[in-house]
């Protein structure tokens, strides 16, 4: 199921972004999820590099990757308050875009 929506290039891109997360954040991400992502990413022909002088939201990463990273953050990292803030922001952004 994960493979249906997450192709190998997207999995690789997301995995490489996650590799640059701080250790305390990575510690909260499920091992099995990372291993599943890596398994899908293994078939990607692409390589991903990041600019050390730019914050995450200014990096050249795809929209799909941003979505996936956001999901990982929401599910594993954000506390209740942060989840509420993020979720409300999604609703507001959706209303603005309609």
């Amino acid at each position: 199921m994960l493979e249906e929506i997450i192709n190998s290039d997207l999995a690789k891109e997301a995995l490489m972004v996650l590799s640059f997360w701080k250790e305390d954040m990575i510690a909260k991400v499920d091992d099995q999820f990372l291993q599943r992502l890596s398994d899908i990413a293994a078939d990607s022909h692409k390589e991903f590099y990041f600019d050390k002088n730019k914050p995450l939201d200014e990096q050249n990463i795809s929209n799909d990757c941003r979505d996936l990273i956001t999901m990982v953050y929401y599910c594993y990292i954000a506390n209740n308050q942060e989840q509420r803030e993020v979720f409300n922001s999604w609703i507001n952004n959706s209303k603005r875009s309609n």
Partner: protein
Amino acid sequence: MDDYDYYLYQIKEVEPLYDQIKEYLLSIAEERVKNVIISIIETGRYGSFKLHTPYSNRDNPSIEATRRLMFASLLAHHPDTALFLIEKNICLFHGSNGNALPGILKYGMNSFDQSVKDGNPVITGESSTRFAGRDFISFSDVFETALDYSTISAKNGNQELSFPIIIGVSRDSIKYLRTITVISDVPEIGIRNHVPLGLIATILVPSSKVAFVSKLFSDTNVKVLPCDMKLEAHYGLPNPKYPNDNLLEKIAECDDFSFEQEDVHKLSLRNTLLRIKRILTVFNDALWRDKHVGRNN
């Protein structure tokens, strides 16, 4: 006079800063590894652990000097990492970058031709060993060579970074691998076709990446260890910044950075419910299946 006395005599001649480097490394090293450093520098071995392998250039004092001094540098900068290499008799090294990890985890290490034959992606440096028809995976028993490749490999232009990795294979595993002689400017050992994951003993990564890579390899016997070293000047290439080719000047801390949680939070705020909804459904299904059905179903 045995081989090592010969090398000691020659090494001092080819490395004019030999004594200063040794003195410097001993000054920064922890007490518990000082005798190890002395043994490595003066003999190229410690106990039953030998740096040099029969597969590489034997009678080259310059390469032997580099081999010993660079491993001694690792002992000084990362004593636990180096002591593990000694304990497990790990003396073959391959440098690459983080992009190679998913492929290695799933398929092991493969030569260009093997990857093409198996229909697997060719990533990072394997294609470079295809030059002039060489088809093998490049290893070295000189730690600096692998460090050099990992330093180069981790950069894509001036600012674009991945992170360096160094893969280590034990001397005891060599008998299971197809080695070939390589004629090269650098001390290379060729391994034909394939190095299975089971023969990879260790992967060295920057300290900040140990947690991440350990999670990826948690179901394997690969030991993930820290190494924050990089080379400022590259092997064999003249660098006007280091006219004396001073080993100590060449070693620096590798470029590294991390995304903070507030960066990730800020990125997350920009999304929309519509975009998230689709991926959330599949994400939860996948997580449920992983938890209740299993990874291979």
